[in-house]
Subunit: 397 residues, 2 copies
């Protein structure tokens, strides 16, 4: 790793995902000034293509900054070794699900054990670059820990708001990193409201999902990696457990950028959003053919990362599903737990409940005929099972 040249960002400007308003990147921004929509980063792709080639990637560091031309803040990047997680062929689980080619993108091998490290590496890098001093966010679990880790590395203060019934390992993790941890509220939407209520008076920059544009940039590297690890031939289907949804939106953005670079052809994977039966705003909107989702009242599931009753990313998630000819479906908590055991006992991966949910979803889609035996399928295990001490129906010795 000693000899490669560290890439340089070609970050250009921000564009609102709702009203297309363009703004520049020389000051910290949250959502769109004009309409409140989520902001998307845009790059000078011609410039990026001069130094970023498929060939040069072979010599780049084994973390997400290998794609540094297409990330923000690359020259001053914070890194804990995030990204470049394995894409594991799942022979046994594939056979059990009657799919010939199934892969697991195992995000539990990230720092702090989840996909969320990707986004936070970028977001906290940019926060530090902008000279921000105090961060805050509402968290369903993993993003709180990831944000706290990078904030500690950057020397920034952080307040994390978790819902009341968040499993203890998430609280432990953020506390160890020195975050100010607040526990209360029925669900993440209430925590988010609390952050927005206080951020002005406290001087916090809000790192909550899609309330700033940089987490999405880190998360999109999930898409870059799946493409690279499959030798630039995208899979037919990607199954993603969808709470806030920045992983799915991020992958879709990654494929758009790779297409513009000419590295992949026009074919895109069918994007599948999996949600919990007890909290499925996206699935409900999808079934009703709507472009935005309605907030779920009284969301219930043991998968903290899926207990997200409303997301500002709803429009972008639904658009990606629609454009990709994908779908959205629910699974029960019981099915998720069974999926966790399937992943563990067939493939040696202790997945989060969210990862388990994708297994149950694939089983259902094969049954419906929506996934064919010859399809190349990738499931995303978004995090480690270690942060969820209780699995329904599993007893310890």
């Amino acid at each position: 790793m000693g000899t490669e040249t560290w890439p340089r960002s070609t970050l250009g400007w921000l564009e609102c995902s709702a009203c297309q308003n363009v703004s520049d990147v020389d000051r910290p921004q949250g959502t769109c000034d004009r309409c409140g929509g989520a902001l998307l980063a845009r790059y000078r792709l011609d410039e990026a293509a001069r130094t970023l080639t498929r060939e040069v990637l072979v010599e780049r560091p084994a973390n997400l900054w290998r794609y540094g031309e297409l990330l923000p803040g690359t020259e001053v990047a914070l890194s804990l070794g995030e990204g470049y997680t394995p894409l594991l062929p799942a022979l046994y689980l594939g056979a059990a699900l009657e799919i010939e080619r199934l892969w697991i993108k195992d995000e539990s091998l990230n720092p702090t054990g989840s996909l969320k490290a990707r986004g936070m590496a970028c977001a906290v890098t940019m926060a530090r670059r902008y000279g921000l001093r105090r961060l805050a966010l509402s968290s369903s679990g993993n993003d709180g820990g990831a944000a706290s880790a990078y904030a500690a590395l950057a020397g920034l203060g952080i307040d994390v708001f978790f819902p009341a019934d968040t499993p203890e390992p998430f609280l432990l993790e953020a506390t160890v990193f020195g975050a100010r941890v607040h526990v209360g509220g029925e669900n993440i939407a209430e925590c988010g409201a609390r952050v927005r209520e206080l951020r002005q008076s406290e001087g916090w920059f809000d790192l909550s999902t899609l309330r700033e544009p940089w987490r999405l940039e880190g998360n999109k590297t999930l898409g870059f990696e799946i493409a690279e690890q499959l030798d630039w031939r995208l899979p037919d289907v990607i199954v993603y457990p969808t709470g806030g949804g920045t992983g799915l939106i991020g992958m879709w953005k990654a494929f758009e950028e790779l297409g513009q670079l000419g590295w992949i052809d026009d074919r895109r994977p069918r994007m599948v959003a999996v949600q919990a039966e007890g909290c499925a705003p996206i699935v409900q909107a999808w079934k009703e053919g709507r472009e935005v989702a309605e907030r779920i009242v009284n969301p219930r599931t043991y998968a903290s990362g899926l207990r997200v009753p409303a997301t500002i990313g709803d429009r972008l998630i639904l658009r990606a599903i629609r454009e990709s000819n994908g779908t959205a479906l629910t699974v029960t908590d019981k099915e998720m737990a069974a999926g966790q055991l399937d992943l563990a006992r067939s493939e040696g991966i202790f997945a989060a409940p969210e990862g388990g949910a994708t297994v149950a979803a694939i089983r259902e889609l094969v049954r419906r005929g929506s996934i064919a035996p010859g399809d190349r399928v990738v499931l995303v295990n978004t995090g480690s099972g270690l942060k969820y001490p209780r699995i329904p129906d599993l007893r310890l010795p």
Copy 2:
């Protein structure tokens, strides 16, 4: 990663570390038939050097099988993405400890969150190749989870024996992977005796530390990686939390092999073994100038991985410390816990207590003048802090 050629093993024979008896590798072996000593794998290094070069490594997979010529079973390797963990520059912690160049080898980014995945990837690969069906081991925590993961992937049965007060996440992990989990006995030595008592009648192959030769081979890749990541210029000091000690013995073996390949010069790091005040057999033997250690009665520490009252590797650990001009020292549980918080709050790494122990050890060695400000120092964080739900003196909100 689609284009590289998978390397081939050049495994040659086994050599007893105590009596130098040579044996072949065509049948499963535990310890030395003649004297009961730990067996060491030897390779046909001339053959290895024909395909394994420092240059070719750049294109090899980002896991430990990149060094496949110098590993067993490479052609039939089981992989969950183990190894090639980041070596992170610790600028803030280094400054606090008054060392100019400090790195953290963060083993928590392995599958199952610890270094132990390295050894088990190799050991279970070989167990499957030999056609073994049932495995067993005594475990201080992390090796039980790692063994269970690879056994699940390989489709092999496994029994894991944990001491009575093992933290629950370790039990959860092994259970999720489908292991038969046994909890009982005062410490890992008692668990090990139980395995040896039953293995004949149960038909188990014993995967306990250094009771078979292959775990050490996986663990030695820690040394290969530190060398590679520092551009083949070894550090001056490596600080390693020592329970069973296969990581330290493995690194020492790695440097020997790299020296034979001519990739590194004759200089070796000073190897530092850190143990808990309540369980320090190696430190005690080191202080008394002995070549073997005595079993500790009533070992106590919250760092499960260091609560190892006796290890079959004692002679090899003490030899590596002696030959390297290193040392061995203890830290208290309170110091370990403080070290965990230092790593988390300065560097964004939620380390296991064992990782925290290395910070306390470095602080003491700097105070003594055994580490100079200009020394290049690597500390090994052997695993994730997530499996230890209680940290002394830390309260959750």
